[in-house]
């Protein structure tokens, strides 16, 4: 819980000496609570209070940068329990585990496959984020496997060593890539801390209970290591949900610093369907990094699409630039379709037009990212707006005909639109799925 103005007032000298520039200590406290002034303005404020206020100004959940170079990514920094309260900020990292017991070639080919997991959806590139190397045998093999992985990918690496000594070796070999160390426990944290400090690396802290987790994070912070992620280990799924919910609540509602770190989840499962379903749980419920096993494209695409959905800003639907889009070798006799500039609508229409193999023009009207029906209800997708878009798009000079296909849901606009635009309106299907056959049967 953030400190209120009154909470802060109680910590001030209460002398109303005005040295801060305000007439009372209370007024100053209010400004501090709003973070519009800095504590330094009061010369009499105690060191202890200053430190407390400083902590206050830090985000409740740390944001960490994982990896180095162009594939690095940010994890954590979340500010809400539910996406509708504002938004989820940093899309959770999706990574894949690689066993060091595989042969060199198997490792390289697996990494190659992981590198290839890139998809484009609604104008965004969806890609995966991490590779976790797990030690199964001796130190030498672990280091070798780490080196092969590093040679094969620029993705951030997680080192899952079975002992601090192995971790140190691998960390030393991989240090310039800023690997994530897995993991510090109540028994080994001093050794892990020294590796983390020597190479300046982030660390996953693993403990089965929140008490133990916060004990270890506090110890690590006092040792000077504070780039941490939290893992509560293998447990039944509902307990993982409970842990993740508690960790986020502790951080956001109680400003519990010891738990104010992003969450790390190992969600491996041999069955790709089950694994994806569990990943879905962790994506919706608070994980910042999820490590999986399945590298098939169809599994990765579904997991990454869910992440894209959940991390979309609810206030800012994905939009495309409102303009004229030629599809294929569109010419002067090609059909013209009008739709909104909501990415999902546009790309769905685009997909269907492409599937029809009939070169066409799509005009996207600026509906502020609303879908057809919503935009129509909000009066953003009106006869006037469509008519203006036709005018501004320059379509009139590019075609010989005057036919315009509109979405079936806004058939009611036909009359007014014909009047305003001078185009002949053809009412298209309600659902985009019907567009392809509609275009084919147009003539």
């Amino acid at each position: 819980m953030p400190l209120s103005g009154l909470d802060i007032y109680k910590l001030l000298p209460k002398t109303n000496c005005r040295r801060c520039g305000l007439s009372t200590c209370l007024a100053f406290a209010m400004q501090l609570a709003k973070k519009t002034m800095s504590a330094d303005k009061c010369p009499f404020i105690s060191e202890q209070t200053k430190k407390l206020l400083e902590e206050q100004s830090q985000p409740a959940i740390r944001t960490l940068i994982l990896g180095e170079g162009k594939d690095r990514f940010e994890a954590g920094g979340e500010t809400v329990m539910f996406r509708h309260e504002e938004k989820f900020r940093n899309p959770c990292g999706i990574g894949f585990v690689i066993e060091d017991s595989l042969s060199d070639e198997e490792i390289a080919s697996r990494v190659k496959k992981i590198n290839s997991l890139k998809f484009e959806r609604v104008g965004q590139v969806l890609d995966v984020n991490m590779v976790a190397v797990r030690q199964n045998s001796d130190q030498k093999r672990f280091v070798r496997a780490t080196e092969i992985v590093m040679d094969s990918t620029g993705l951030p690496v997680v080192l899952m060593g079975s002992s601090p000594a192995s971790l140190r070796q691998a960390a030393s070999a991989a240090s310039e890539r800023k690997p994530l160390l897995y993991c510090a426990t109540k028994d080994n944290f001093t050794q892990i801390a020294s590796i983390a400090k020597d190479f300046r690396l982030p660390v996953v802290v693993s403990a089965p209970s929140l008490d133990e987790l916060s004990y270890v994070t506090k110890e690590l912070v006092s040792l000077g290591v504070d780039a941490l992620l939290l893992d509560t280990g293998r447990k039944p799924l509902s307990e993982k949900i409970w842990d993740a919910t508690q960790i986020r609540r502790q951080a956001l509602k109680k400003a519990n610093r010891a738990l104010g770190y992003p969450e790390f989840v190992m969600a491996e499962n041999d069955d790709p369907y089950e694994e994806a379903a569990e990943a879905a749980v962790h994506i919706t419920k608070y994980a910042s990094v999820i490590i999986l096993k399945g590298i098939q494209s169809w599994e990765a695409l579904s997991v990454l699409t869910l992440r894209q959905n959940i991390y979309t800003d609810p206030q800012k639907p994905l939009q495309i630039e409102p303009r004229l889009y030629p599809v294929g070798e569109a010419g002067e006799n090609s059909p013209v379709l009008v739709t909104t500039n909501f990415s999902l609508t546009y790309y769905t229409v685009l997909g269907e037009v492409e599937a029809s193999k009939i070169p066409s023009y799509i005009i996207s009207v600026d509906t502020e990212g609303m879908s057809v029906l919503t935009a129509w209800a909000a009066e953003k997708f009106t006869a006037q707006a469509i008519s203006d878009s036709l005018e501004n798009s320059g379509i009139k000079k590019m075609i010989k005909h005057k036919n315009l296909i509109i979405p079936g849901y806004v058939a009611v606009l036909s009359g007014e639109l014909e009047e305003k635009s001078g185009f002949k309106v053809i009412v298209g299907p309600k659902e985009a799925a019907g567009i392809s056959s509609f275009l084919k049967n147009l003539n």
């Binding site: 996406r83 409970w242 738990l259 089950e274 919706t284 169809w298 959940i310 769905t348």
Partner: protein, 316 residues
């Protein structure tokens, strides 16, 4: 330094709705399905009672399915050619405890079956299978207003769940459902205020709130799923905070939406996983009934629910 867990204290809860009537309740079903009743957000067992698991309803049609991808239809072999055999297959081979019948054949574009024909189909379905039924119309308002009353009567006292009532068209369906002892699905277009308004309108007709199930209208994974996800979370929080007009369980047509997705048509596994992820993510938002299409996806989601709730439960 023991950490004190932060527990939400909710004053409200979700109504518990029962589907299907056995002999002692005047029906002929062999099992009933109970949904809702939660006093907590999904899966937070320590915070309040969660008496029922989400359930899966297999979607069947009264005619062979149209516009279903080939791989989806063939997952039932030749059964969909005869909807009654298809229905029995869902129950016998795939362990369905709940069926969702869509009267697509009544649609003017899909056969335009008469109300009497539809009612007869419902009667034979009730004879052939003994699980509870959800019955939804063809999507053509005018036609559904003729068909649904006939089907409602044909299933009198079986305590079906009938749908879908909308803000523009709810009176006929609500009156029939009320007269014949059924519950009702209230559909709103991803809009929490309309959901609330419609529940009020329907309850004003004399419907008990514990006989309404909300269809929040979902989008599939990649097709607006997040809108429904957040509407459902908001609705559930409102319910738990004591808003009785939003305290109905949710029904999600995950099969219908998932198989429309371009990705779902891109390969069998891609389609199955698309439906699984659509369903499993909506469970996290509070889905109570998942109406599903692919038997493999249904099986996987059933397994996932068992993992979430611990152990197997033959009741579902």
């Amino acid at each position: 330094m023991e950490i004190e867990e932060i527990l939400e204290k909710w004053s409200g809860g979700v109504y518990s709705v029962s589907i299907g009537a056995c002999a002692e309740d005047g029906g002929s079903r062999k099992n009933t399905v109970r949904i809702g009743g939660q006093k907590s957000l999904p899966l937070l067992f320590k915070e309040g009672d969660i008496p029922n698991r989400p359930v899966i309803a297999f979607e069947i049609w009264d005619i062979p399915p149209q516009d279903w991808p080939e791989g989806l239809v063939s997952s039932y072999g030749k059964a969909p050619e005869d909807p009654l055999i298809w229905a029995q297959m869902c129950v016998k081979d795939f362990g369905a405890r709940l069926l969702c019948l869509r009267l697509q054949g009544a649609h003017p574009d899909c056969g335009d079956k008469s109300p009497e024909e539809c009612a007869r189909f419902v009667s034979s379905l009730l004879e052939k299978v003994s699980v509870p039924l959800i019955i939804i119309g063809s999507g053509d308002d005018a036609k559904d207003n003729l068909v649904m009353p006939a089907c409602s009567e044909a299933a009198k006292s079986e305590r079906c769940l009938l749908g879908c009532a909308t803000q523009e068209n709810y009176k006929t369906l609500a009156a029939s459902a009320l007269a014949d002892g059924h519950s009702i699905i209230a559909e709103s277009p991803i809009d929490i205020n309309i959901a609330k308004q419609l529940n009020i309108l329907i309850s004003d007709m004399g419907f008990a709130l514990d006989r309404i199930v909300i269809n929040p209208t979902i989008g599939a994974l990649g097709y607006g799923l997040e809108y429904a996800y957040s509407i459902m979370e908001r609705g559930r929080i409102a319910a738990l905070s004591g808003d009785k007009t939003l305290s109905s369980p949710f029904i999600c047509f995950t099969g219908q939406e998932s198989w429309k997705a371009k990705e779902a048509k891109g390969g069998d596994k891609q389609g199955v996983i698309w439906e699984i992820i659509t369903a499993s993510s909506l469970i996290q938002a509070g889905a109570d009934i998942l109406v599903m299409r692919h038997p493999e996806a249904a099986k996987r989601v059933f397994g996932h629910i068992s993992v979430l709730f611990g152990g197997n439960n033959s009741d579902h």
